[in-house]
Symmetry: D4
């Protein structure tokens, strides 16, 4: 019924069920990424394999994978690196890290988003320093890691519920900071909107924000900042 | 046109433009209070005078007064105590304070709400310890007053923007805490809704919340808690 | 890939899947609490056992447990106290109650939240007086318990739908009052937001509010108020 | 530029700046009504005069008038009845009342909306019983007028802030009830949305609701109910 | 742990899992009603049986029943009347109808709400005239039933999506009208909020509104209006 | 401080306070348009004059003008056509109309938006048939103009409050229809959001919607449709 | 219990579970359409068969079908055309296409909505040109199809997430454009509301919008525009 | 009445009406900043003068100044640099710029926010490249500046209405990007919320977002990124 759209384009890999942009690295310097939500395990494996064959020399990242997709990748792509907490996988060699991103999280329930951010940072070419369970209701632990915060080239700060952690961290240091609200909470957390609004209204200057649970987006931004940062003493 | 409603009730002072409940003290132990918003300066003065004449032995409080009302009260009721920051006045002797409420605020812009809370606490029978400008983006000042927080019988914590202060204070002490969101902010603060949501989702246990800018309501609750608290060392 | 975060901290029990703050009692005077949502039954049992072993002389509380977690606790921790309505358990001896909190609820559907509040109050050191099914559409029952309301040191008032009960109770007495909106309702109740907004706008002075369905938070606040209250005649 | 729309229609009075439906009485049994918001004082006077001349034997109602419009009507239409609280006027003889509507309001600030409802009821052919200042934070006054509530053919219940009054009144009687939320309040009252949501979620069965501050709409519904009600003992 | 609440009250039937108000008929003239949402089939049957035994001479209504509850009622209470579309049942003799309520609905998907409203009207003592599938996108059917609309003592108008039907019906007649928004729709219907807002803003005067999908509440109001209406020619 | 941005571009007229796209006609076939909100009267006149000088052979349109801007245009550009209801002006010859757009509005208060739509249609090259005051609460007038609706090549339907008119019109004819919600209303109209949501959920197929009060946008779309429509009998 | 509604109407096919308007083609020129959501597979088949028998000479469309309904249609109506991506079927001969609608979509996840729009366009009498995967984050592909955009008589532009595509397309051409927001996204996409708001605020003039995921509604509008468009060179 | 809070702190300058943090530079490397909203012109001048005297060797920034404050600063602080578009001033020498931030804006109305961002960047130590009027409805201008986008160390992208510009820019380059939604728009722009949501849902990876109209916050983040970036060819 429709006019077919057959324009062949070397920058696009047409897999039938999806048309994958295989040219992003040239345009932005970033790796290929597969957003797994809404894709079948078979589709995820096919896209990963296709992208890996196009560019075997660099890593491909797949995020938001179901249990089934993680299992199928594990069974069919033995070289893939599986991160079950992040619900993500990589295929191909990770780049040599340049600069450091500290990924800071408030509570245990924020771990999946923090893990997605951390893995994204690594795949996008920067190193990671994980600092977990430093929620604002127990300041002593956060105050104990101030030097690690100051040593980073960029910070990713992950928190749900009232989303206060970025404000407190942002008051302790002048390192560029990306805040990630999570959907952890209930009732008036409105699925993460409360944390999102809090972070957008942070009284600490320079806090920037991404979508709820978007560890990936924060990781991309932070890695771009860190890998371009001038070297300095103290950073890993 | 209407059937007149002439039922005389000794618990009500009918001023024509308003019917004032003069029986609240008997029912709840609290003083009479005039909510000044939407009332003319003349009406405020009349209500204050009427309530004062009924119960000259205890204080009356009027809140949310316009500049004009504050001026008229100052000119016509020389015994009134004027608090221009709180936009409130008292008439009649303040009660002897029992217990202490620490009123804690984040920034300069929160001062009117903190002042309303503090004056309300005093009129409702408790003492006040003011701790201002201890926003979360500068933790050192807050950490310097931990002993004053712990010495109070109840805390009122006032903050706008991201509303993070109650969570941090609530993690430092087990004193009962009432959080007051303020409308300080712009854009995604949504008139104080962002701070309100943050406080309702506080990860610090036991934080309770009142309406945006409602220093009065927080003061009433805190004074009731403090004036009934058992004496203990360290409290003023 | 990440830098490990191995800083040992005696105030934290690291269980691998969670890092539990075992120092809260020293800081706030409150017991240890496990928030069960999102944890497996095995994790709940492990955390309960660990916390109990650290401090066998005082109670641990676990809330928001699934049916499976309640069953596993019952089967493996025979000394635990199970509250199936509250979906919560305790392990270890409850403290001697000081002061009384009246937990008041509007309807049958509010029972789980009221039960969570009541159990939290007991674990946090105060006594409980339960007053159920006193919704505002049938005032006679509420008016029949006015003396019990007045005898309490703090009130927790639980209601869904239009959330009117705290306003009515708050007009009957001057006892400190914490209102808990519940998600009971449909359509324009917006998952409890209608009740939450109503309580925040209560015309009764001194009403404070917690998050939707947050019986735990209300219980913590109320117990702190009641256990510090000066003794008075009539309170249990 | 446009094609003129010259279709003459005897059911429409074309005043240039407005086309007034002069046929509503025939269709619905109700009087003509002028919604004054957004109209100049001169336009209000012109429409009132036109409608009155068409049907001098029955009343015309104009609502939502500015101070200027009220003054001009008073100066140019000496036979008009002016209600400054309701910000409304009538012109022409009021109908003989059939049945009674009790208009119940919570607080002094709700008076304009209650007055608009009451005047609308009278112009639409029913009698009015005004019951004011019976907010839920002082139940004794409300309980004192239960017989007047029960004697009415329909109830209009007006309240702002938490909007709890209709639920309490609706639990006391089975008379048909229309609830009117008002914009009285601040912060989380969201311009009356909190009261509106509360009334829509009332636990008292049979409560119906109109738009915020819509005393007129409630009055029309209530008058239609009351004027068609079968006579009964006790109703005025 | 708690103080038991053993106050026996003849107006309450204590079933353990619920305390049922068996006195509502005396207070409001309405029958007993069981709100089935959240209750087990066994609980529904027990409450129905208990209420029926207390007052075998009048009907009991149970609404919002699950498939399982409908089946259990059908199997264990052979005298019950089952309405599978309304998801409701009655037990005991229906009252003789006084007056007529026309229940008008826009589309096929609105049938469950319309059926709940119609059954509620009958149980509350009025007669019903059902007028279905008269949505505003096909005006000819609606215009064909104008005489039936005008003959009713009260109208219940049920519509989802844009909720326009009450405005059109309200322009055709002066009969008291209750509008019921339904959750029929998707996307920007926001679960029925779009229809709710539309009805609250109706340009037809006198339209009152109930909660989304609340056929029961509309039915109660309409039956109260209709059963008290003076008889007139043309009404059934 | 900044690097100047001096790239000269013939498609842009740089007026200092604004850079005007003078190339739109070539790209889209539409005239130049000045959005007057936020511009001073002097700026409006300058832009109008500049655009007119570039293309004296076709009309320029300026919308959303203040009273002051309308007066200054009238005083300084005697050839301009002023539409005070639409708060808009044109300068230069209007194009010969091709096809017809019927601009339909519900009430008197919707006139400014309808006038803006009508003027926009004319400037963009189509003819206009205005049909006003045909709100859904008075169907007889709307039913009387069905032939004019059917004769148009596109419909613009303007309504505030509940926004029901597009659904009713859309059920009467298959002509392409653009709905314009207006901000007419109060309370739960939420500044026009209620009408917007209603129109997005219209049960009449094929209704498309523009922003609140956006008569201009609707006019552009409708003119594009009408001027490209094949001629047919009955259209002007 | 109810008065039966037996008015026979030749324009309605009464199937018991639904009353189908079989007269729409005469009124609007459009085919019959079955909205499948909420209907059983058997009901869908019955309605399709009934409508087809009434008008075997033209196509019937059924949308929003479940997997089960698609399977049953495939098994029992061998002449039906099944579109599994659109989740829709047709029965009966498609009309000869007049004019062309370009259906443009941003990403792979938008395919179901784009497919529903495309099929609707064909059934409503216009031809389709599909242009997929031209999201704004990769402009090169979109810029490569500018001539196809300009050759269409109407555009349907489908996008989720930030909904930016219609603005970019609308800046490239003056062809009438209907934007369709999709529910693709998470967190702050609020189920498609973010894309909807973006499209309503498009800075490209003349963009009109339909409900979230409403490919059908956009298709109806676009087909009506295209099939009435005057022929021009370049359009298929 | 209150306990005075006299703790002298060298890191705080107590001006009576405000307590200014004069230690931020040591903690974060950033200059002192005065948020002018809600402050009198005299207060702004006093704070500027005080901060300048403490640290005459570096710049102070004051933002969100009223017309009156800008005038008073101009009249009393002759060395101040005034930016009337940004509504901001600086006092003291600007730092030598390191790295470059490109500040990109969509339309003329976005100029104040873009100017605030640009001035903030300079005061915080980076250089600025301004790129204005490159809205998505006219892609040609944006495509003409791709090399300037790619040469920057960080991008600040400012847009109102549908907020699409960051997505398009983010697809053209891999430079770190901060998006600033503005309150430019009306109706469904909801005061900038539409643009904010769009930017949070950007399909371009790595886009981070600040509060509506928060040019200052974006400038702080971007300057921190740029001044730490390693030098590279092409950057100014």
């Amino acid at each position: 019924m429709d006019q077919p759209d057959h324009s062949p384009d070397p920058r696009i890999a047409d897999l039938g069920f999806a048309r994958v942009d295989v040219d992003r690295a040239a345009r932005t310097g970033d790796p290929e990424v597969v957003y797994g939500a809404g894709k079948t395990p078979e589709q995820v494996v096919t896209i990963l394999r296709t992208l890996h064959e196009r560019h075997p020399e660099r890593a491909v990242l797949a995020t938001r994978l179901s249990e089934e997709a993680l299992a199928l990748v594990g069974g069919t792509l033995p070289d893939a690196g599986i991160d079950p907490v992040a619900r993500a996988v990589t295929l191909g060699p990770l780049p040599t890290p340049r600069g450091t991103v500290a990924v800071v999280s408030a509570g245990t329930s924020d771990a999946p988003v923090a893990a997605e951010a951390a893995l994204t940072v690594r795949v996008h070419g920067a190193g990671v320093d994980r600092i977990d369970d430093v929620g604002v209701a127990g300041l002593h632990r956060l105050l104990g890691v101030q030097d690690r915060l100051a040593a980073a080239d960029c910070l990713v700060v992950v928190a749900g519920m009232e989303g206060a952690l970025p404000s407190v961290v942002g008051g302790l240091t002048g390192v560029p900071l990306v805040a990630v609200p999570t959907s952890v909470g209930y009732g008036a957390s409105l699925g993460g909107v409360a944390a999102l609004l809090a972070m957008l209204n942070s009284c600490a200057p320079g806090v920037t924000v991404v979508n709820i649970d978007n560890g990936y987006g924060a990781g991309v931004h932070a890695a771009r900042v860190a890998r371009n940062a001038a070297p300095r003493p103290g950073a890993s």
